[in-house]
């Protein structure tokens, strides 16, 4: 479960992904986060919108201050993790695509959803799996 019980408080877990347009990796983080929210851990974690977070979204920033957050970044620029730490505090855990996927694909140009390949969808599955592991670990309090 992605809710943590600490005394009387029931905590939730947030996922904030880079979802950027600088490279294909951003698109993949977006799709993986969506897959986690809608298919793999529905109702067990909350997605935080990074562009809104950066634009001053109070709800997103307050959530990240009060609940554990897992950042999902495409590359070593760590936009999601650094932004969260700048405005809300340390993240509980982070997923970085270049740690376990082919950087050549991650750094390639963004493509329309209609042009995504089987390889891309396979990568989305792997990223989603990593996010789930972090959510489950945070839920278990490890």
């Amino acid at each position: 479960m992605a809710d943590i019980n600490i005394g009387a408080f029931k905590m939730q877990i947030g996922v904030i992904s880079c979802s950027g347009e600088e490279m294909l990796g951003g698109t993949l983080t977006r799709m993986a986060t969506r897959k986690v929210m809608e298919e793999l851990r529905p109702g067990q974690a909350i997605s935080l919108c990074l562009p809104l977070f950066l634009a001053g979204g109070e709800e997103e920033r307050n959530f990240a201050k009060n609940f554990p957050v897992i950042s999902v970044d495409a590359c070593e620029k760590h936009c999601a993790r650094k932004s969260t730490e700048k405005y809300s505090g340390r993240v509980r855990d982070c997923v970085v695509l270049t740690d376990f996927l082919d950087p050549e694909v991650i750094f390639s140009k963004t493509v329309s959803m209609k042009d995504l390949t089987e390889e891309h969808y396979h990568m989305v599955d792997k990223i989603a799996e990593e996010i789930c592991k972090k959510i489950d670990a945070a839920s278990a309090g490890s």
Partner: protein, 286 residues
Amino acid sequence: MSKEYAILPCNGLDKCAGCAAGELAIRLSEETGSEIICPVFYRVADTRYNRIAKEKPLLVIDGCASRCASKLAAEKGLKIVKKVNISEEAKSAGIALKTDSLRLGETEKLLIGNLADRLKTEEDTAESGQETSFFPAQLTYDTYQKDKFMFRIPEEEAFFFNENDVWAYVSGGKARIGVTDYVQQSLSDIMFFTAPNVGAEISQFDEVGSLESGKAVFEIVSPVSGTVTRVNEDLLNEPERINQNPYEQGWIAEIELADFEEDKGLLYDFNGYFPIMKRKVDEFHV
């Protein structure tokens, strides 16, 4: 020939509209050679994106009413040439975007395709320029002075005022609205401007945004009813423009009028408002 833009999409992840904004940006970049400005990375490293934004006309794609991309463009001082809001476009087209999923369905894809086709050929309309045909290039003012403070009121016949110290300049079925000098002098240094949503339908005396200074928060009460068609984006970054001149560079929004003949009955012209403002200044202004 297809248009090439610098595209700044909101790229939101929380709503289907944000996902559609990102997909529209990618579609246009693939089909026209336009370049995408990543709204997240732009905040980290802006040099490269500033160059792109200067070289090509800037298209801003917002997903929802939060208008994150527009706010970012205002923060960076970019000149917006074209702006699209996915939620508003969907509403205009009679399309209900998904609320229970971020996945783009056939309806969303159709909307994206239609918008892409339109944007590839549509004429530019610079958003940060003044519309001289609608609003006069120069205004003439009458003034009332109290101590060192000067209170101006435009004398043009097309200006109308409500008792809440908000003006409307009315011409050809449209109105531009703003606050009067009494408001900006009373508030002193205005620090925040909360804009109304473009596309919002408002009734006369509805709230149409707010202003905040160190002294107070002022709710802008609309003098007219209709649909908000444009907001002065410059104020998001520089609300002090209202202090500089609330009638010219400090205007608030433009509204497509619903029934001005009816609204007019509850408004004042220059001659009616001047003594009201004078009394307020004498009684309340410190």
